[in-house]
């Protein structure tokens, strides 16, 4: 059996992370605030206070829920994953979990940065630096078993490029994006210098679900609409923007991945694009993913044989969402995939391992 790569796991950012914040930003560090558990926020009753805003804001318009800080009662009550593993303050515990789950490599994505945190470029750069330093140190203790994608301060291209070099040097395996970079489309020329540098550094563009656009997030009432459009569907917007604006053609060495958005949206999206822009069905199928070097993370329970008709078996990956508890979490990812008799063995092997190795350059 080839090595297994869990292409999408998470860290729950601990308060210790901000010890890596530049001293000049110490007074602006994220701090935890707590509220009683009988408010609108229920047992999501601890938040980060950053730049005058609370994260998460688990109720009302512009609301969203994330599994950090760990001081939330709902996090304290968890027994699924040990705290030191979730927060990566004890990487060895996490590696033990990987051994138990038959996973050789984990790729770590953030939790706090799944939402747009601040418009201030100085603070944004400082937080990204602290995150990447903390992750670099934690991952370095795992003999390459745990890798991470670097967070970039998109408010400054210069700072982003500097961060990319430092992160690459520290071992980062990709660059964290959401379906939009703040108010910008992923096809915005503003981002081209980052794509150019990512090509040179061989760092893939990792487009994860998340509320990348703050204005869009503010449109929806969390209790009524959840984050379906503002977060879960945003990678689809990114995919369309990249493909229709031929960004992969412009950066022919760059790889793009879409994480935690499932893969079942692909047939729908390809159909609507073909309907709008014409062309033969083959061009809106596996060839598109091959030619544009786009990888899609799918879920264990999806109709993978059907999806392979659209994506091809060389561009599927799998992530367990380890450390989170939302519906994307697949605790027995490897075992459940191996149990699937309706999926060819070659597809299983590629989705669980070699495709992600190629995507992340492992």
């Amino acid at each position: 059996m080839p090595e297994i790569v869990d292409a999408d796991t998470h860290i729950i950012e601990p308060p210790e992370m901000w010890a890596h914040l530049d001293e000049s930003l110490y007074s602006r560090r994220p701090v935890v605030v707590k509220v009683p558990n009988d408010t609108l926020y229920g047992n999501t009753n601890a938040m980060w206070l950053i730049d005058g805003q609370i994260f998460p804001r688990p109720g009302g318009k512009g609301g969203f829920r994330i599994a950090t800080p760990s001081a939330q009662e709902r996090q304290q009550l968890r027994t699924d994953v040990p705290l030191g593993s979730r927060e990566l303050t004890d990487p060895a515990v996490r590696v033990s979990d990987m051994d138990r789950d038959d996973v050789d490599f984990q790729i770590v994505y953030p939790t706090l940065f799944l939402i747009y945190v601040t418009a201030d470029p100085v603070l944004e750069a400082g937080l990204a630096r602290a995150y990447n330093k903390f992750l670099g140190e934690a991952c370095a203790a795992t003999n390459g078993r745990i890798r991470w994608v670097a967070v970039l301060p998109f408010g400054s291209i210069d700072a982003s490029i500097e961060e990319m070099h430092l992160a690459k040097e520290a071992g980062a395996s990709g660059l964290f994006f959401m379906g939009m970079a703040g108010e910008r489309s992923l096809a915005d020329p503003y981002l081209f210098p980052i794509y150019e540098e990512a090509s040179k550094l061989n760092m893939p563009i990792c487009i994860h679900i998340g509320s990348g656009n703050p204005a869009l997030n503010d449109v929806f009432d969390f209790q009524l609409s959840g984050v379906f459009l503002s977060s879960s569907s945003l990678p689809i917007v990114g995919f369309r923007d990249l493909v229709l604006n031929r960004i992969p053609d412009r950066f022919p060495d760059l790889r793009f991945g879409l994480l935690e958005a499932t893969a079942s949206w692909v047939p729908h999206c390809l159909y609507t694009m073909r309907r709008q822009f014409g062309g033969d069905a083959e061009g809106w199928g596996p060839r598109l993913f091959e030619e544009n070097r786009i990888f899609i993370a799918c879920e264990v329970e999806e109709d993978i044989p059907y999806l392979v008709n659209f994506i091809g078996e060389d561009h599927l990956m799998m992530g367990s969402d380890y450390a989170h508890t939302d519906p994307a979490r697949e605790a027995q990812m490897t075992a459940k995939m191996k149990e699937r008799t309706d999926v060819p063995q070659s597809t299983i092997d590629k989705a669980l391992g070699s495709n992600a190795r190629l995507f992340y350059g492992l």
Binding site: Y26, V31, V35, P36, T39, L40, G52, I54, G59
Partner: protein
């Protein structure tokens, strides 16, 4: 000498005020959050969390400073006025201060409501009602020495009237 009227004084809203909030809004009541005193906010290190926003937001763009909630260190360290006087949980104490200062009547204005708190009409109406109930009760015990101006929920004219 005519009676002296202090036409502009303030109340620093206490947590007890929200006991007057309609029960249906209990889970949305303002709650106090506290943070360390070595952040950007210094000793203004306690805020109200209301409708997903912190108030005051004593730093940065859109920032402002208010002398509520009283859990702020800068409020706790005050010696100019007793706490029960500031937050009107002890109106008799405030009347004693007025006597000392030669003031016959005080008119009370809010502190928290010096900023726009929420765009939600229901919560806005509930907070205004709680404020007016609390202050009405506090002033009623002063034989007319203390008066207040009512808060209105301006996003609903019906509710305001």
């Amino acid at each position: 000498m005519a009676e002296i009227i202090d036409a502009d004084t303030h109340l620093n809203e206490p947590p007890e005020m929200w006991d007057y909030l309609d029960e249906s809004l209990h889970s949305r009541r303002p709650v106090v959050v506290t943070i360390p005193n070595d952040t950007l906010y210094g000793t203004t290190n306690a805020m109200w969390l209301i409708d997903g926003q912190i108030i005051p937001r004593p730093g940065g763009k859109g920032g402002f400073r208010l002398s509520t909630p009283q859990a702020q260190e800068r409020q706790q360290m005050r010696t100019d006025l007793p706490l029960g006087c500031r937050d009107l949980t002890d109106p008799a104490l405030r009347v004693a201060d007025m006597d000392r200062d030669g003031v016959q009547v005080q008119v009370v204005y809010p502190t928290l409501f010096l900023v726009h708190i929420t765009a939600d009409p229901e919560l806005e109406a509930g907070l205004a009602r709680a404020y007016n109930r609390f202050v009405g009760q506090a002033c009623a015990s002063t034989q007319g020495r203390m008066r207040w101006v009512a808060i209105l929920p301006f996003s609903s004219v019906d509710a305001s009237i």
